[in-house]
């Protein structure tokens, strides 16, 4: 059973196609990197996978079950850190996390224990500030805490490490590694190819409009190996990405 399976996913906004016939599968216990240029449909795909958006066509299965926006039982087993974080600005971090935990059905004792532990671990102990007054990095930490507070089986993270300081990133990476070692799955997007290269097991690269152009194992790169594609050898993810998505040059004389 795949943790995530997408078959012929299509998402259109009126006449504009954002995702076109995307199919991929992610095995349990995988750290999966989902890459693509800006506007290629990564967030739209995550939106469809998490119930924010309705696919125009295609089928999504999460943990072996058909998924749609009303699948509350499957959502209970998923954690999501959306692109825009989905925070309620007037709340304090502990209030927000407790609200999320209660909505996932955690009992009061567990809720309080996990909220306290997460706030301590993520250094969010300044309880005099509401989420509005937090820095971007701190807000991101809160959103990450909300995604993991109920120990989900599948985690969707949209640009999880952007704006977070190196210590925070290291901690999150450590947790995510433990997470996948326990057989749980992480599906993440990122534009930092070095991080994806060293951190992920599998990578899918899409181009506009949401077309899969490559999917494969990238662990070879971390062991100084190479990926063969189109008769070429790629020793890093960046040249492969540029090869697949097209490298652009523009010379601005005045700059």
């Amino acid at each position: 059973m795949d943790a995530i399976r997408i078959r012929d996913l299509v998402k259109k906004y009126g006449k504009v196609t954002a995702v076109e016939g995307l199919s991929l599968a992610v095995e349990p216990g995988t750290m999966f990197g989902f890459l693509g240029p800006n506007g290629s449909g990564k967030s739209t795909t995550i939106g469809c996978l998490t119930g924010l958006l309705d696919p125009t066509a295609g089928q999504i299965e999460i943990l072996g079950q058909r998924f749609d926006a009303e699948s509350a039982a499957i959502k209970r087993r998923m954690g999501v850190m959306p692109e825009t974080l989905g925070l309620f600005d007037p709340l304090y971090a502990h209030e927000f996390l407790a609200f999320v935990a209660r909505m996932y059905g955690l009992d009061e004792t567990t809720t309080r224990r996990r909220v306290t532990e997460l706030l301590d671990a993520l250094e969010l102990t300044d309880t005099s500030k509401t989420l509005r007054d937090y820095s971007t990095g701190m807000r991101k930490r809160v959103a990450f805490a909300a995604a993991v507070i109920h120990s989900p089986e599948v985690l969707f993270l949209d640009e999880p490490f952007e704006s977070i300081d190196p210590a925070g990133v290291a901690l999150m990476k450590q947790w995510l590694r433990q997470f996948t070692e326990q057989g749980r799955t992480v599906f993440m997007t990122s534009h930092v190819l070095e991080t994806v290269e060293r951190f992920c097991h599998q990578v899918a690269i899409i181009t506009t409009p949401g077309k899969l152009v490559w999917q494969g194992d990238v662990t070879v790169l971390a062991n100084d190996g190479a990926i063969s594609h189109d008769g070429q050898e790629f020793r890093a993810l960046e040249p492969l990405f540029l090869h697949l998505t097209g490298q652009r040059y523009a010379d601005l004389n005045w700059l």
């Binding site: 119930g51 926006a69 959306p82 989905g86 925070l87 996932y104 309880t127």
Partner: protein, 528 residues
């Protein structure tokens, strides 16, 4: 002064207005603005001003009528700007303008130029111009002097609205600002009713009041419009002084740093708050959502102010309308005033927010669709929260009415009053569900005042309040028997009908929320 760049910004403001018409809601709004507001209202206002001028000349009281029209308009413009936010909503904030190569003074000019070019001020100008033209056509008043007077009056009106709005905003940012504002509004609300008997018995007081008023901008403008002697020029001079004074006050206020945000009272984490305890009565499924909504709205300055204002306004309505509507009898006007007050009390405390339930949530809105809960439950919990809050107001209002009733206590009357409050609450909340889905607007949670509702939201709130204020009055005049205590039973079918409307709306709107979520996400998150 970089007028070229300021001109580009003014053009950008109108380009943004035009860009809004690309969406369906925007097109509807454009239709409303163009056809209903600009064409019909401008025509009405111009003819209204013109007619007032004709009446003024024919009655031989040109200056007096001009003073009354201009003063009324002046005060109404300030009230509409401060309470409803007409004409003072910032299009570009100071922070946004800082990215352009403009000096501080140029940024100020740009902001206020864009502000005064708001369609609202065109409407005010239309009526005042109508008066000028009317006076010019029907008397020997100077058109050019009148035009200058009206333009100066409009600028001073805008500046005063800005000054008052800024003062209110700063007041609201202070800890006890809401309470101070509340007291001020209550005092101002009762003032005309208190002053009327004082002025009626003392002619000297009226003369003294008129003498004081002669130093105000509308009176100065009236003198310039209607007089041809030195008084016309002294009126102009007085207006210029007012302009300079108001501009200086505005600059001084804008330069003064806003009060520092309130720090949290305590840094200790509190797990079991009154919100959680109250919401726990609604069970494990709705409880956390209701606690969330309670916390979310009770932390909002504007919500707390409007909510706290509901009871004093209801009392004011009973006092002011009851006095103004004739003899005191149970079947007559004072009871109609009480009915109005209770109907307003039923919905006013939460109306602005219930018609745009998700509009203040911004980025948090998408969280509701990620949680393992049916989206309909989110809508239902929000609506129940408003119902809970308004029910508390109705309960307190009823108790106060029983204690301080202006007429002898009659249980049948109380049933009618509570029935009016509950029915208006059900109808408003029902309509609020539909405007939440079909007329949402991305609003700033931290804005302390102003009108940020959509056209649909405004129609429901303003139209609904007008209907509640005028409805009982109309019934009292046309069918007074309907308000007699022996007709108390009418309240029951009215409440039942309203409840059916509310619960069927809740059922159907809840089912539609999921289907409309993509559009709502775009609007609430400020992308649509």
């Amino acid at each position: 002064m970089n007028f070229e760049l300021i001109g580009h910004l003014v053009r950008l403001r109108y380009k943004l207005l035009w860009a809004k018409t690309r969406s369906r809601n925007g097109r509807i709004a454009l239709f409303m603005v163009c056809y209903l507001l600009l064409v019909v209202l401008v025509a009405l206002f111009v003819s209204g001003g013109f007619a007032a001028a004709l009446v003024a000349v024919r009655t031989g009281k040109a200056e007096l009528v001009a003073q009354a029209v201009l003063s009324g308009l002046y005060v109404e413009a300030v009230v509409a700007a401060v309470i409803l936010g007409f004409g003072v909503n910032a299009i570009f904030s100071e922070a946004q303008l800082r990215r352009y190569p403009l000096k501080a003074q140029e940024r100020r000019v740009a902001r206020h130029l864009i502000g005064i070019l708001d369609p609202f001020w065109f409407l005010i100008l239309a009526l005042e111009l109508g008066l000028v033209v009317g006076l010019y056509v029907s008397s020997d008043a100077s058109f050019w002097l009148g035009l200058i007077a009206v333009l100066l009056l409009l600028i001073s009106n805008y500046l005063l609205a800005r000054v008052v709005a800024l003062l209110v905003e700063r007041l609201m940012q202070r800890k006890s600002g809401g309470a101070v504002l509340l007291s001020a509004i209550v005092c101002l609300g009762f003032l005309p009713a208190i002053l009327r008997p004082v002025l009626q018995g003392h002619r000297g007081a009226i003369v003294a009041l008129l003498h004081v008023l002669s130093y105000t901008p509308p009176f100065a403008a009236a003198a310039t419009m209607t007089r041809t002697d030195l008084a016309a020029f002294s009126g102009l001079l007085l207006q210029v002084w007012w302009l300079l004074g108001l501009a200086a006050a505005l600059v001084a206020l804008e330069r003064r740093p806003p009060p520092r945000p309130r720090a949290a009272q305590t840094t200790a984490i509190s797990w079991d708050t009154p919100y959680d305890r109250l919401a726990a009565f609604f069970g494990p499924r709705l409880g956390p959502l209701m606690a969330h909504w309670l916390r979310f709205y009770m932390r909002n300055n504007r919500f707390r102010t409007i909510y706290a204002l509901a009871l004093p306004i209801a009392a004011m309505l009973i006092f002011a309308m009851g006095r103004g509507m004739g003899r005191r009898s149970l079947a007559g006007s004072p009871f109609a005033a009480a009915l109005t007050a209770f109907a307003v009390l039923g919905c006013m405390g939460t109306a602005q927010f219930s018609v745009n339930q998700f509009g203040y949530v911004a980025g948090g809105f998408r969280r509701f669709f990620l949680l393992p809960v049916q989206p309909a439950a989110v809508l239902r919990a929000g609506s129940y929260t408003f119902m809970l809050m308004s029910s508390l107001l109705i309960l307190v209002g009823t108790l106060l009415f029983v204690l301080f009733s202006p007429f002898p206590f009659d249980a049948r009357m109380l049933i009618m009053l509570v029935g009016a409050a509950v029915a208006s609450l059900f109808v408003f909340l029902g309509l609020g569900l539909w405007t939440t889905l079909f007329g949402p607007r991305c609003c700033d949670y931290y804005n302390n005042f102003g009108n940020d509702l959509s056209a649909a939201g405004n129609t429901v709130v303003i139209g609904g309040m007008l209907a509640l204020i005028l409805g009982p009055r109309l019934i009292a005049r046309t069918w007074p028997a309907a308000l007699a205590p022996d007709k108390w039973w009418v309240a029951i079918p009215v409440v039942l009908l309203a409840a059916v409307f509310y619960f069927s709306s809740l059922e159907r709107a809840g089912a539609m929320l999921l289907a409309r979520r993509e559009k709502l996400l775009a609007i609430v998150e400020g992308r649509g």
